[in-house]
């Protein structure tokens, strides 16, 4: 059992108290090391769930997903008052639109920095992404009046890469860690706001506490964007299921490998573009299928639950083909749709339960 994961609010306060700045970062991919090199703590905003969504509804139509609507509502209700900069990576048309209306119409007090994510993995994509980071560097220079050197950037990169390595180890060894699946995902998702240093300490503690006996439960793989409400893990456990691997945008799809280049910007670009398959980065469906099948083989999962936020186009397009291909490979799957503002519905729970019974 792992205790003592610092809370998001206290982490932000502590970081600011010692003179650092804080960036609110929207999903999904961004250069953590670049922000930290400027002594800015990235704190991710995946919604959050259950905010007063009507504020966002004054600017966004109801067919925009709840992650984006909630993020805007959260901003407008003062949820981001304590941050110094807002970073909006380009993950989809909705986040693109949010970034644009923040810059053009809403104009929050903090500077808004958009970041375009290239959709391929060609050399030209890496070069462009490195240029985007250089542009972001210049914006951060304006905000902080600091200019970290290449070696300072590389130091920050190495620190984040060491932490990413621990994160990957947590995922690989999740079945023998002394953590419930809820605790495991609370820890993994703490990477969304903790410093690399604090997260590494927690990860090392978790990795040192292993169990001998295998965990009980019907093993499944969870795919999607974000596992909200987090109580879904408890529900799955109560129904006799066990999440043994994930293909979640906020978790497993961000197991970044280290970059190779000596140029700090290019290095960060290589790292993000070579992360596990992700539809928002333009990964072909076949590649996603192959990756899922490898994860399933390695983890022993007997089925896949696609756990998607309503209106999430990047997920919805791939779903029919992926499910057919998995079926052909003998892997059953189920599709669950959620909204961040709703509790997990009985309908969704019944579907998960029926699915677990089917594959048990």
């Amino acid at each position: 059992m792992l205790s003592g994961i610092p809370h998001r609010t206290e982490t932000i306060r502590a970081y600011k108290d010692r003179g650092g700045l804080v960036a609110a970062v929207l999903p999904i991919h961004y250069p953590r090391a670049l922000l930290r090199a400027f002594d800015i703590l990235p704190v991710e905003v995946w919604g959050p769930p259950k905010v007063e969504a009507s504020y966002g509804a004054a600017h966004l139509q109801p067919y925009v997903c709840s992650i984006v609507r909630n993020a805007l509502s959260f901003l407008q209700t003062g949820g981001l008052d304590g941050v110094d900069v807002i970073v909006v990576p380009h993950a989809c048309d909705s986040l693109q639109g949010l970034g644009s209306i923040l810059i053009d119409f809403i104009r929050p007090r903090q500077p808004v920095i958009p970041l375009y994510l290239p959709r391929g993995r060609r050399e030209s994509d890496t070069a462009f992404f490195a240029d985007e980071f250089r542009s972001m560097y210049r914006r951060l220079e304006e905000v902080t009046h600091c200019s970290p050197t290449n070696s300072e950037l590389m130091e920050s990169i190495r620190r984040e890469e060491a932490t990413d390595k621990l994160l990957a180890q947590l995922h690989q060894r999740s079945s023998c860690l002394a953590l419930t699946q809820m605790e495991f995902y609370r820890l993994v998702r703490a990477r969304e706001y903790l410093t690399a240093e604090t997260f590494s300490e927690l990860a090392q503690v978790a990795l040192s506490q292993t169990i001998e006996a295998p965990k009980n439960g019907t093993p499944i793989l969870l795919s999607g964007i974000v596992p909200e409400p987090m109580s879904v893990f408890e529900s799955i456990a109560e129904m006799g299921g066990l999440v043994v691997a994930d293909d979640l945008a906020c978790c497993g799809r961000r197991l970044y490998p280290p970059g190779e280049s000596e140029d700090a910007f290019y290095h960060m670009a290589e790292s993000i573009l070579h992360a596990p398959p992700d539809p928002t980065r333009g990964t072909p469906i076949q590649e996603r299928r192959d990756y899922l099948l490898r994860l399933i083989a390695a983890s022993g999962a007997r089925g896949v639950a696609f756990y998607d936020v309503k209106f999430c186009e990047p997920e919805l397009y791939d779903l029919p083909d992926l499910r057919i291909e998995l079926q052909e490979a003998g892997i059953p799957s189920v599709g669950i749709e959620v909204d961040l503002n709703d509790p997990l519905s009985h309908q969704a729970l019944t579907r998960i339960e029926a699915f677990l019974e089917m594959i048990a």
Partner: protein
């Protein structure tokens, strides 16, 4: 191409098909030829060139039906750099246009249902669903769609196209070329973004040449670029003529006349068509003919049209003397014409295809709308909040507020979907339009 294929193509397209289309055009010309045959009390008959435009589009789809017999076929997104493909003699198909035809023919819901039955969510773009449905079932109002040898997706209209084309790539098992155009949040795209697009265009050539089975002829590329620029300029001029009162055509006419500039950009026939259209529009202006018989108010339309209710909306507004004289959507295929430089094809394509309105920020669209309100002397704006098109629709709520505040014009947000009539409520639309019409008085 085999001799049998060549003969089959010549017989079906050039002998039987074209003759049939000419006869059909003649019949349509007779039907719309005179006021006595035109049924609308409020709208002027369509341009006399309309049957010719219709024949041109029908010929394109006729050729498409047999295209696999004699040419390489590329399926592309509507904002794709088609000049490269035309220069390599690809026959080019626009799935979005095909979906719009399905919408206009009111078969989009039936065809989309085929995709929904296969697991595609109703929350994805209705164009994509229509084309997936057609791909899976073979259903189409154009007879038959040729299989692609190549796919080209350009992200300058949305990210959705990449998700959509990855599905097509898996289904047809053909190469997918991606031209990724970074979104322009501020006034100008950074130079490195334009160079990124240029580099992708250059890097696409080997794949394009391999599939085409021929080398790119730079002279031909320049010629296609020249035709593309001419057609776009003529199209822009046709639309700009609507600064006259009464407006010679409406945006609804533009919606029905825009197919050639989208799917036949770079063809000489398209240049000829729009040159003739401009001439007829000028004749209308000279004779004081307006598209709406009793034009009292002039509006701007934002976003894609509601394809399955074009005539209804035109009639409803026409009855109240309201002409929709401009549209940000049709404008998009003309406003960048001057950026096309046939002498610097790659550099100019990179810039032109980075700057479509849909690849630019919400503030840029607001500025465009304000300019159009001024240029076309408009009295109000209808913003179609299109459930299927998030990049076009997000920002409209703020844009509407600012149009009302800064331009002192009424602006209406109309909820619908460009192709899925299940997301459209006639009663609700009629009520909202009626209230809006009252505001305009």
């Amino acid at each position: 191409m085999s001799a049998t294929g060549w003969l089959g193509y010549q017989w079906n397209v050039n002998i039987v098909g074209r003759t049939f289309l000419r006869v059909q055009r003649w019949q349509v010309e007779q039907r719309v030829g005179g006021p006595a045959r035109w049924k609308s009390e409020y709208l002027t008959p369509p341009l006399t060139i309309s049957p010719r435009a219709k024949e041109l589009v029908a010929r394109h789809w006729l050729e498409a039906r047999y295209a696999n017999l004699h040419r390489k076929v590329a399926w592309v997104t509507s904002g794709a750099p088609v000049e490269l493909l035309k220069a390599l003699d690809f026959f080019v198909i626009y799935p979005e246009n095909h979906a719009a035809i399905c919408g206009t023919a009111r078969v989009a819901v039936e065809i989309s249902s085929e995709a929904e039955d296969a697991g595609y969510s109703r929350d994805i773009c209705s164009y994509a669903r229509t084309d997936f449905g057609s791909m899976l079932s073979g259903k189409t109002p154009v007879g038959k769609l040729p299989k692609p040898d190549l796919l080209l997706a350009c992200t300058n209209i949305c990210q959705t196209v990449l998700f959509w084309y990855r599905v097509l790539a898996r289904h047809f098992n053909v190469p997918l070329i991606l031209i990724d155009t970074p979104f322009v949040y501020y006034d100008e795209a950074p130079e490195y973004a334009v160079q990124f697009v240029k580099r992708q265009l250059e890097e696409a050539i080997p794949t394009l040449e391999r599939v085409a089975g021929r080398s790119l002829d730079e002279r031909k590329l320049r010629e296609v670029g020249r035709l593309s620029r001419m057609a776009s300029q003529l199209w822009m001029e046709v639309m700009e003529r609507n600064d006259h009162r009464p407006a010679p055509i409406t945006a609804f006419d533009q919606f029905t006349q825009m197919a050639p500039i989208v799917e036949m950009r770079g063809d000489a026939a398209t240049v000829d068509l729009y040159a003739a259209m401009l001439k007829e529009v000028d004749e209308r202006i000279a004779r004081g003919i307006g598209a709406v018989k009793n034009e009292r108010k002039r509006l701007l339309w934002d976003n894609l049209p509601i394809w399955y209710r074009l005539r209804y909306l035109a009639e409803f507004l026409g009855e109240h003397g309201i002409a929709i004289v401009a549209s940000t959507y049709t404008n998009a295929w003309g406003e960048l014409a001057t950026m096309i430089d046939p002498e610097q094809p790659f550099e100019s394509m990179a810039r032109t295809y980075t700057y479509p309105i849909l690849n630019r920020g919400t503030g840029h669209k607001l500025a465009t709308m304000k300019r159009m309100i001024e240029a076309y002397h408009l009295d109000g704006v209808i913003l179609h909040s299109d459930r299927s098109c998030k990049p076009y629709s997000i920002g409209q709520m703020d844009q509407r507020d600012r149009l009302i505040r800064d331009c002192s014009v009424p602006a209406l947000l109309l909820e619908a979907d460009h192709n899925d009539s299940r997301c459209y409520s006639e009663e609700q639309v009629a009520n909202r339009l009626a209230a809006f019409v009252e505001m305009l008085r």
